[in-house]
Symmetry: C2
Subunit: 152 residues, 2 copies
């Protein structure tokens, strides 16, 4: 992707602005490819992320706040994401007995099975997207992204 071709601006943008736009365009592309990759499973990228986090818990429950901390989503919408995953029978939700304000969310057997298929499809998409970026470059890219001042 060549950001200059897209911008076609005669007055040159600040390098900072250009970088931000570049990141936006890259995100848009990733987002579209992800939606496409996950379409057969009828889940959104956010629903996929919830499943991936839950599986990372290795049987332990996660409550909503925990999910939320690790996700690109607002609390109120995480509730609704979980609602949708329950409808698909991919996760279970129970009230936490030690603290009834909290809820506990688990991934189900079906959820785990589907997640495995999704992950394979996703990884194929990711490899295709990153096929011209070698390992060394990927490491550099991650290091550079770590330098961004994102409060996280």
């Amino acid at each position: 992707m060549d950001v200059n071709k897209i911008l076609k601006s005669n007055k040159p943008l600040a390098l900072e602005s250009k970088t931000i736009i570049h990141l936006m365009l890259v995100h848009q592309s990733i987002s579209e490819k992800t939606t496409e990759a996950l379409k057969p499973f009828d889940v959104s990228i956010q629903q996929f992320n919830v499943l991936r986090i839950l599986k990372g818990q290795n049987g332990k429950a996660a409550n909503l706040s925990t999910l939320n901390e690790r996700m690109v989503s607002k609390m109120s919408n995480t509730t609704r994401l979980v609602d949708k995953l329950i409808l698909k029978d991919f996760v279970k939700r129970t009230v936490c007995e030690e603290n009834r304000r909290k809820i506990e969310i688990f991934i189900t057997k079906k959820g785990k099975e589907e997640l495995l298929k999704m992950s394979n499809t996703m990884l194929a998409m990711e490899k295709e997207l990153l096929k011209d970026v070698n390992t060394e470059d990927l490491i550099t890219l991650n290091k550079l992204l770590d330098k961004l001042n994102t409060d996280k």
Copy 2:
């Protein structure tokens, strides 16, 4: 931003997956900061982008398809973005006389004035976000992003 701290996964993710998540998290942060920066002007990042592209036209009109090509937006929504900018008196829309299917969109004087203020605010935000990334790193980052296979 340290993506490993956020993921907290025990089973290590593929470097490709990690990079994609990293980009997603970075985008989310940029998106939030941008919304915040543009709030005083009551425009969205997409509306800002329309204005920036129109200004880059240097008086020449842009039609919707042109705007769309250069933007992170679907055609149908670009129509509505322009609607909102018209309400604010930031742009004007006229039917193209050579081809009445097309419309021509111009930035207004008021639009240009406001865009200048917005750009200053945005640049300050961008510099803050990228304060720990030096020029050389920015160039490297853009080069790496160019390597992504995004069909653009």
